[in-house]
């Protein structure tokens, strides 16, 4: 539909048709979570957890980090973080953790009346160490037991003893889930769930890679929205249909030369979680100035398939080697690779006050990435959920100055 037909001025940003399907998928996720909680088989799970294992055992997963994004986008982050701060939690603590603790304390004041009550809490520290203490706090409030899958950080290549250690952790996870839920793991079922994950991730990766085209068919906010099923419903069969629909739409855009934004002039890389409370305003505001983000380090984090002879080994390898569990050099290499492959003009690194694991080292990486690629970058500071830490005027100046370098 053109701007004239709609009777409004054309927006700089083109919404995805797949958005409607996404709403349906997410609605189903909420309903399934509520039902599972009532039936006694709901686990809260961190975003980088090998969720294929509990899913194959008939356990439903729900994701507090994703709920943190909901809290942020509904602009209730400061209020819910405040409820945790009243309990004595520091403002320095991750705002996903604070808002989660706050919403568990006061579900009646939280979006969707809070996350459904869990029967188990499954934390994997491949994304950060805070998750364990966060889940411990939730455990105290809900009585649900915590399981930690420990994946020590990797510097360089993963060592055999490291792999064996994580492998043992996965075996213990199965024991924990059997004891907690009376469930058992069948290899055949795990292979089916893993195959569903692989298919969805495969389609997702193709959509991401299509952004190498000019104009880019997807912008940052598109990817942060459509990654939701990959984060929270990996292993489910019905999300494959969603990722097929998304990929079809992306392919159609590419074949017709339609970009995610109308007038693509500058192509940038985004690093880190987005400011959820301002995600559309932020990226669409830049879209009006011709700035598109064909790639980011976050939505590229899910890749690889659990397959082969030993499925636990495969899961241990994939989930240990996630972006945030590797050293600074691996992060720099990834950024350099994305800038080159996606033909980007520069990069914006969001230093997220909450997420120390993601943000630590950004000043050094910025220098190294510029040295290796020759493109300029800028670090802006704020938070993903706690909008009290987001100073718009200061961020504007830094981004404007970066964009002026391209004039």
């Amino acid at each position: 539909m053109t701007g004239k037909e709609s009777g409004k001025e054309e927006k700089a940003y083109r919404p995805l048709k797949t958005q409607d399907l996404l709403q349906q998928v997410l609605f189903r996720y909420v309903l399934e979570g509520n039902a599972a909680s009532e039936e006694g088989h709901l686990a809260w799970v961190t975003s980088g957890f090998p969720v294929e294992i509990p899913v194959a055992m008939g356990i439903t997963a729900t994701y507090p980090e994703q709920y943190g994004a909901v809290i942020g986008s509904q602009k209730v982050g400061p209020a819910l973080c405040g409820f945790a701060e009243e309990l004595g939690y520091s403002q320095e603590l991750c705002s996903y953790a604070r808002s989660s603790i706050g919403s568990t304390r006061k579900p009646e004041e939280s979006p969707l009346n809070g996350l459904p009550k869990p029967q188990a809490l499954l934390a994997c520290n491949n994304i950060c160490g805070t998750v364990l203490r966060w889940y411990d706090a939730i455990s105290q409030m809900t009585g649900a037991p915590v399981f930690l899958l420990d994946t020590p950080p990797i510097e360089g290549e993963q060592q055999p003893h490291h792999l064996a250690y994580v492998h043992r952790g996965i075996a213990r996870l199965v024991e924990f889930l059997s004891n907690t839920f009376g469930a058992s793991l069948e290899e055949k079922r795990l292979r089916e769930v893993a195959a569903n994950s692989t298919k969805a991730i495969g389609l997702w990766t193709k959509s991401l890679e299509a952004c190498k085209n000019r104009p880019s068919p997807l912008n940052c906010a598109d990817r942060f929205m459509t990654m939701a099923p990959i984060v929270s419903m990996r292993g489910a069969e019905h999300i494959i249909e969603f990722y097929q629909a998304l990929y079809d739409e992306v392919r159609e855009r590419v074949s017709q030369g339609i970009g995610a934004i109308r007038n693509e002039k500058v192509r940038l890389l985004w690093d880190n979680i987005p400011p959820w409370f301002s995600i559309f305003k932020f990226f669409n505001g830049l879209a009006k100035r011709g700035v598109v983000f064909p790639a980011d380090t976050y939505t590229h984090a899910w890749s690889g398939s659990i397959e082969g002879e030993d499925l636990f080994d495969s899961a241990a390898t994939i989930y240990s080697n996630v972006y945030l569990n590797k050293g600074l050099q691996a992060k720099v290499d990834k950024m350099v690779e994305l800038i080159k492959d996606y033909d980007l003009d520069g990069f914006i690194m969001f230093s997220v006050r909450s997420c120390k694991r993601y943000s630590l080292g950004q000043l050094v990486s910025k220098e190294l990435v510029t040295r290796e690629t020759g493109v300029p970058g800028v670090v802006i500071e704020g938070d993903m959920v706690d909008s009290r830490l987001f100073n718009e005027a200061q961020i504007q100046t830094r981004i404007d100055a970066l964009l002026e370098m391209f004039e």
């Binding site: 000043l363 510029t370 300029p376 800028v378 500071e381 100073n391 005027a393 200061q394 100046t397 830094r398 404007d400 100055a401 002026e404 370098m405």
Partner: protein, 239 residues
Amino acid sequence: MIDSQGNVLGSHLVPTGASGAVAARRCLEELSRKSGVDATGVSTTSTGYGRSLIDFAEKSVTEITCHSIGVHNLNANIRLLIDVGGQDSKVIRIGENGRPTDFEINDKCSAGTGRFLEVMARVLEVSIDELGPLALQSDSPCSISSTCTVFAESEVVGRIGAGESSKDIAAGVHAAMASKISTLSKRVGVVTPVCVTGGVALNPAFRHYLSKQIGAELWMPDNPQLTGALGAALLSLEL
């Protein structure tokens, strides 16, 4: 305000106050009065915080780019610019074409800005203009360890209570501030010759300690508070 050849016709400085737009209009009127040239209607570029609120400006450009272009116009050899103002401090790497190629801003901590010196001058009961010369009289600066303006103020009060002289305290205050700016500069990379601008550049003690800490001579333009405005005016020529 400049002519089409880039010659400066006049300048005027007013505090922004509660309304940037009102201050800018007042500045324009004063500029017309002082220069004898009607400044209303000339091509104008706005810069700095609140730049987008100046309704009569055709273009708004960040102070990062404006300072860079302004300094380049005055001295094309400069590759590193350190600008220390009342609200923030920035270090800008200037490319050969006068455009910034990299920058860092301290806009989180007032201990790296002119406000730090204003607060300390008040505690020491001297004017801001007297603070620098007072510090230069010291040959034994006392150490100010606090990294926050508010707590540094308590520390200075403590030093006064301990009987330390005003000149040694003033010197310590400048050294502490220069140390912050020096760290920021080293992050961008110190490339000589280095230029220093902003209101704080007028303070000789700050220049002395900064030069010492970054290990480089500093070049300062005649009007270090106006290089951003000069850059903005030069950009208006392109309109």
